[in-house]
Structures are given as structure tokens and as C-alpha cells.
């Protein structure tokens, strides 16, 4: 007597237990604390906050701990939490010129008002494995290039709270003043859309495109941006300015009617400057691409700025020839929570569909065999 397999519920419960074992690893070793992750894996925390669309370092660190360091899974956890939060209102646009800088560089001018500031970067390390880190405890060599002033970073953030933010003019603004750089203006027919409230429809305006890029997968944006540098859409980009630091967030609550400062955010902003030869109506000038993400996310913001620029093809009268210029293609596939879910849903049972295909293939093979017999 055959009995159909049952026991989905029991299997799920066992799977939870095994997953917990996998997460914890060897119990003879001390467990990682959320605070340790927040402090020592801070760039992972920043990525999870950016793509999870929620600025909360503690919860992002918790998500990383819970997901055993699988960042896409951590992003998913944070998003699933975010969706339950009430919407208090919309903040005023960030003023990134008023910033407590941690890092600021321009690749277009040797000297810029406000100065260049290297800050913490991997760029000029030797990329040699630092074996001193293998040893438990603190063994810091102050002269070593790997010494990361992470404590100082958070101190800088705290300092922001105490005094007014210094103003560091953006290089783009200086160029725009001379008319050398276009200054795209949003079409203020309506307030900007909200990707998290309404579905993304195409054609999408720049505000919506930037929202989608900001929460888009870093790897996807990196590959897309990279493709524009290799001839799939020509962008001739220059890193006009990259800045990282703390900016303040302000809100005008309906009940008050005036602006209040509700806290600080650490952000990385990238302004790409791209060549543009002009058209009949527009004189030759530079165009721009924009990238913004939470925390220290330089790779993400640079890639985002490249993709933002290539997606402006229609607006600037360029012919669309490359994947990175096709907004529907780029943005429909940029969200890693969506992509990861749908790719992995193939693990779910498809017995019924497969049976339908089996029946079809068998039928086609039978008619093929009969046709063959008739021919011989």
C-alpha cells in the first residue's frame, strides 16, 4: 500500500533548528554581538541599510547576525521589517553642502574650495593580507596603512550634533554657475512619486529612477555602470566629486508648520560629470549623473551615478543603443530582494507544471515516432 509523503510541517521545524545551528557555529567560541558587527563590519551594515532602505545601524547589524552574513538575506529581513513601520512624513531634501566631512575628493580639479580630504579609503593600501589581524586582541601598529580610525569616525558624527554643520560648496554648483554644467530641474507638476507606495511604471521620471537605483543591488549597478565604460553607451565620465560625511535630516511636521532637525545621517554622495557635445538648442556643456547611499558606499554611489547618467539618454536626446540606457531593463532587475526571491522560487515544488510538460513531451514523442514509422 502506497502512502503519499506527508510531513511538511515537521520538516520545516527541523530546518529552523538546523539553521540556528548553522548560524551559531561552534558554541565553544564566543557569540558575535550586534554591537561588534555594527562597529567592525560597518561597511556591510551600510550596504544593508542602503539596499534595505532603512537607516538603522543596529537593526542592520542584527539582520547581518541573523543571516550569518548573507547580505542579500539581511537586506530582505530589513525590508520585511521596514514595511511594517508607519510613515510619519517626508523629510526635506538633504542639503549635502552642509556636511561634517569624513572624506572628500575631486578627480576634476587639483584644488577645490573646501579642500580635498582623503579620509578612510582602501585606495592606497597595498592590498596585502595583514597577518597581524589573525591574532586575537588589539595589536595595532599606528604606522600601518590598515589602521582604520573607526572610533574617530563616530566621534566626528557626535561632534556634528553639538555644533552647526560647516558648509562645503559642491563642485557641481561651482561649474553650474558658469553655465558649463547643465542643471536639470525636476518637473514640479506634482510632488515626487514614492516607489515604496506605488508600483514603478514606465517611462519613469528621474526621481523614481534614482529611488530605484538607491535601493538597487550594488553588484547589478556595478556591472551596468561598468558596461557604459566599455562602450555599451558612451558616457565619458569624470568623478567630479565624491563626499562622505554626516548631514542633518529636517522635517516640517504638519502640526508645526516649521522645520525641525530630526537627526543626522552618514551618507556618501557622488557627482559624475559627463561630456556632452550639445544639440541644436543646447550649447556644448557637461552633463551629470548622481549617486547617493547611506554610510560609506563609494563603489555603489559611483556605479549609481554612471547608470543614472546613461538612463538620461531620452531626456538628452541620445539614441538608446545599450542595455544600461534602457530604464525598464535596468530598473526592473535592480532590486535584489525581488531577483533573489524569484530566482530561488524555482526550489518550490513544480510537480504539477512538470507533469503537464511531461505529458506534452511524451505525446509529441509518440507522434514523432509514428511519423517516423510511416516514413520508413
Amino acid at each position: 500500500m502506497y502512502v503519499a509523503v506527508k510531513g511538511g510541517a515537521a520538516a520545516i521545524e527541523s530546518s529552523w533548528r538546523l539553521l540556528e545551528d548553522q548560524r551559531r557555529g561552534d558554541t565553544a567560541m564566543a557569540a558575535l554581538t550586534v554591537a561588534q558587527i555594527q562597529e567592525q563590519l560597518s561597511l556591510a551594515v551600510d550596504r544593508v541599510m542602503s539596499e534595505g532602505s532603512l537607516y538603522d545601524p543596529e537593526l542592520a547589524a542584527l539582520a547581518i547576525k541573523q543571516s550569518s552574513g548573507d547580505l542579500v538575506e539581511a537586506i530582505f529581513l530589513l525590508r520585511a521589517y521596514r514595511t511594517t513601520l508607519p510613515r510619519l512624513g517626508y523629510a526635506l531634501p538633504l542639503d549635502t553642502a552642509r556636511i561634517a566631512l569624513l572624506r572628500r575628493i575631486s578627480a576634476t580639479f587639483k584644488e577645490v574650495p573646501g579642500g580635498q580630504m582623503l579620509g578612510p579609503t582602501y585606495d592606497y593600501t597595498q592590498r596585502l593580507l595583514d597577518f597581524t589581524l589573525l591574532v586575537e586582541g588589539e595589536h595595532r601598529d599606528a604606522s600601518a596603512p590598515s589602521s582604520n580610525p573607526s572610533n574617530k569616525l563616530s566621534e566626528a558624527g557626535i561632534a556634528v550634533h553639538r555644533g552647526p554643520l560647516p558648509t562645503v560648496p559642491r563642485i557641481n554648483d561651482l561649474l553650474a554657475r558658469e553655465g558649463l554644467l547643465e542643471t536639470p530641474q525636476p518637473e514640479m507638476v506634482a510632488p515626487p512619486g514614492d516607489l515604496t507606495r506605488d508600483p514603478l511604471m514606465f517611462p519613469a521620471d528621474r526621481a523614481l529612477r534614482l529611488q530605484a537605483l538607491a535601493r538597487g543591488d550594488e553588484g547589478w549597478l556595478l556591472a551596468m555602470g561598468y558596461s557604459t565604460q566599455r562602450g555599451y553607451a558612451n558616457s565619458h565620465p569624470f568623478a567630479g566629486e565624491i563626499r562622505r560625511g554626516f548631514v542633518s535630516v529636517a522635517l516640517v511636521p504638519d502640526e508645526l508648520g516649521f522645520e525641525i532637525d530630526i537627526g543626522d545621517l552618514e551618507i556618501t554622495e557622488c557627482q559624475m560629470i559627463n561630456q556632452f557635445s550639445g544639440s541644436r538648442e543646447v550649447p556644448p556643456q557637461f552633463t551629470q549623473g548622481y549617486g547617493l547611499a547611506f554610510g560609506g558606499s563609494e563603489r555603489k554611489t559611483m556605479a549609481m551615478a554612471l547608470v543614472d547618467r546613461s538612463l538620461r539618454a531620452d531626456e538628452l536626446g541620445e539614441t538608446r543603443t545599450a542595455p544600461a540606457q534602457d530604464a525598464e531593463f535596468v530598473l526592473s532587475h535592480a532590486d535584489n530582494v525581488e531577483a533573489s526571491g524569484f530566482v530561488q522560487h524555482l526550489k518550490l515544488p513544480h510537480y504539477v507544471d512538470f507533469q503537464a510538460e511531461l505529458e506534452l513531451v511524451r505525446k509529441l514523442r509518440t507522434s514523432h515516432a509514428m511519423a517516423k514509422k510511416e516514413n520508413t
Binding site: A4, F202, Q355, A356, E359
Partner: protein, 307 residues
């Protein structure tokens, strides 16, 4: 036990209201895909987020919920979704089709005919029936607006011209109310006729693609075909090995190393009800022969001949 950290059925009331509003529009325009502000759910996209959002938006305390995946109540994802609603709503759940007021399904329509007091909620991965012919949404929206479905007919015609038959075995395109081309979700075409003039309300949710659509009760639903190649459903040469049914959709299982196959009902409740009513199947696995397989050669003989 209800988890009191979350609102009834997880979603907040405003979101539910927005989804219900989109559902009303979907019911008013049968087969039309309504864009909606799909929320991130504590389920992965592609794992039923659209169906879960519909169920969460319409479920009430008096409802009785059944969740099936591949026709069965005990497949892992069905168990998971049912548990989620038990935890967030505390409503009664059931495995019996006849007892349920809401049935959330993936890939099947129950064998037992539904009634006017039931709602069937489909999980939909790809709501756009034209997606494999035209990937751009911007384009397909226009094609629907203009009822421009020639491309789909050409595709089906090409199948017949090249292979002698329409090669869509599941997610077989239908015309709803003779106006909108619609994806029935990946149900086998065996289930397509059940959608036609069904007394139950049928709701479809695609969470990742952010679309909802509906077939109101007693709406004509026609599977696309040609006069000389009429639509037909799957048939098996075997009956269910457990309950002996000859008119239900069957699952195929490989039961031994020889590759013997056992055919049983995919709808586990239907099969159980029949067995309880005294029906018995043959309890036999069968051996299938592929029409094009080369006859088995006795390898020992071949070796000796070669020597």
C-alpha cells in the same frame, strides 16, 4: 495563538484598504491587470507574496482558510503560508475544500466544484501573458489597451506548424469576458475549463510584479484555440493508484530504481474524500515505455559478440 506584535493579518489597515480598492477595480474590469502598491512581505518574492497580500486584505474573523500548493495542503510552502495566517489572524484553517471560504492556491484549482460563497486566490509569478513575446511592460500595456493579441495567435499557430500541437501545457492563455488576454497563472491547462462561469470569485495576485486581477463569478473564460485545433486538456492512461479516480489531475512519482511510476491525485483533499467514501485505486505502480526509446540490448551478448 495570535502574535499580538502585528496587526490582524500582518498588513496595516490602510494598506489593506488600498489593496481592496485595487481589487474592486480588478473585479469591475475582468482580466485587466491593476497596478498596486505591493508591500514587502515576510515571504520571499516569487513565493506567494501577491496571494498573501490579497488574502490578508480580505480575510475576516469568520473566514475559514485553506492553502494549497500543487493541489496539496501539506507541501512546505502551503504549510508555511497557512501557519502565517493562523499566527497573525487566529482564523480557522482547514484542508477540506468544501469547508473553506477562502482558498489560496499555487498552480492548481481544486477538483471539487467551488460555490458562490467561496473565493479562490491565486499566487501569480508572471501576470503578463505577453511577457515571453514582448518583455517591455510599456509595450504590453498598449497591446492590452488596443486588444492587440495577434502576436499570441501567431505564436500558437507557429507551435502547430512546427510541432503539430500547441506546446503550452500550463499557464495556457485565456480570454476573459472576450476582452482581456489573461494569464491563468501556472495552473495546468487541465484546470482552465474550471475558470469558465465559475460561481466563485477568482482573485489573482502578483506581488513582485505589483499587479492584481480578477475573474468575477459567472464570467466567460475561453482558452485560446483554432477551429481545426480545438483546445483540449490533459488525459492519462492511468487512474489514481490510491482512489481510482479517472478524471482528476495526476501527479507522477518515481517509486523504485527501475523507474516505475505511481500516479496519484494532485488534489490531496479530493483523493482523501474519495478514499473515505470507499473508492480504492489499483495500488499499482506502472512501467512506462518511451515511444522513441531504443530497445534494451542485452549487454552480455554484445560483449561476447565483440570478443
Amino acid at each position: 495563538m495570535i502574535d499580538s506584535n502585528y496587526n490582524f493579518a500582518f498588513l496595516d489597515e490602510r494598506t489593506k484598504k488600498r489593496i481592496r480598492r485595487a481589487l474592486l477595480k480588478a473585479v469591475a474590469v475582468p482580466g485587466y491587470q491593476v497596478p498596486f502598491g505591493s508591500r514587502e512581505m515576510p515571504f520571499a518574492y516569487g513565493w506567494g507574496t501577491g496571494g498573501v497580500q490579497i488574502t490578508a486584505s480580505i480575510i475576516g474573523r469568520a473566514d475559514v482558510l485553506k492553502v494549497i500548493d500543487q493541489g496539496a495542503d501539506d507541501t512546505t510552502n502551503a504549510v508555511n503560508i497557512r501557519r502565517f495566517f493562523a499566527l497573525t489572524t487566529g482564523v480557522k484553517t482547514t484542508e477540506k475544500t468544501a469547508e473553506a471560504t477562502l482558498i489560496q492556491t499555487r498552480h492548481r484549482i481544486p477538483e471539487l466544484p467551488l460555490t458562490a460563497s467561496q473565493i479562490l486566490i491565486y499566487q501569480v509569478p508572471l501576470p503578463e501573458p505577453l511577457t515571453k513575446l514582448e518583455p517591455s511592460r510599456q509595450e504590453t500595456i498598449k497591446m492590452h489597451a488596443l486588444s492587440e493579441y495577434g502576436l499570441m495567435h501567431v505564436r500558437l499557430y507557429e507551435d502547430i506548424a512546427q510541432l503539430g500541437a500547441i506546446t503550452r501545457a500550463y499557464d495556457y492563455p485565456v480570454m476573459v469576458n472576450e476582452r482581456y488576454l489573461m494569464s491563468p497563472s501556472p495552473i495546468p491547462k487541465f484546470d482552465n475549463p474550471k475558470m469558465h462561469m465559475n460561481p466563485a470569485l477568482q482573485l489573482f495576485g502578483a506581488g513582485r510584479e505589483k499587479r492584481l486581477y480578477a475573474i468575477p463569478p459567472y464570467t466567460p473564460v475561453r482558452s485560446l484555440d483554432f477551429e481545426d485545433h480545438p483546445f483540449e486538456i490533459q488525459r492519462w492512461d492511468h487512474a489514481c493508484a490510491l482512489c481510482g479516480s479517472v478524471d482528476s489531475y495526476l501527479d507522477e512519482m518515481i517509486v523504485d530504481d527501475e523507474g516505475s511510476r505511481l500516479f496519484v491525485c494532485s488534489d490531496s483533499d479530493y483523493c482523501e474524500e474519495r478514499r473515505d467514501a470507499g473508492h480504492v485505486g489499483g495500488q499499482q505502480a506502472v512501467h512506462l515505455h518511451d515511444a522513441l526509446a531504443t530497445p534494451v540490448i542485452n549487454s552480455t551478448t554484445t560483449l561476447q559478440e565483440a570478443a
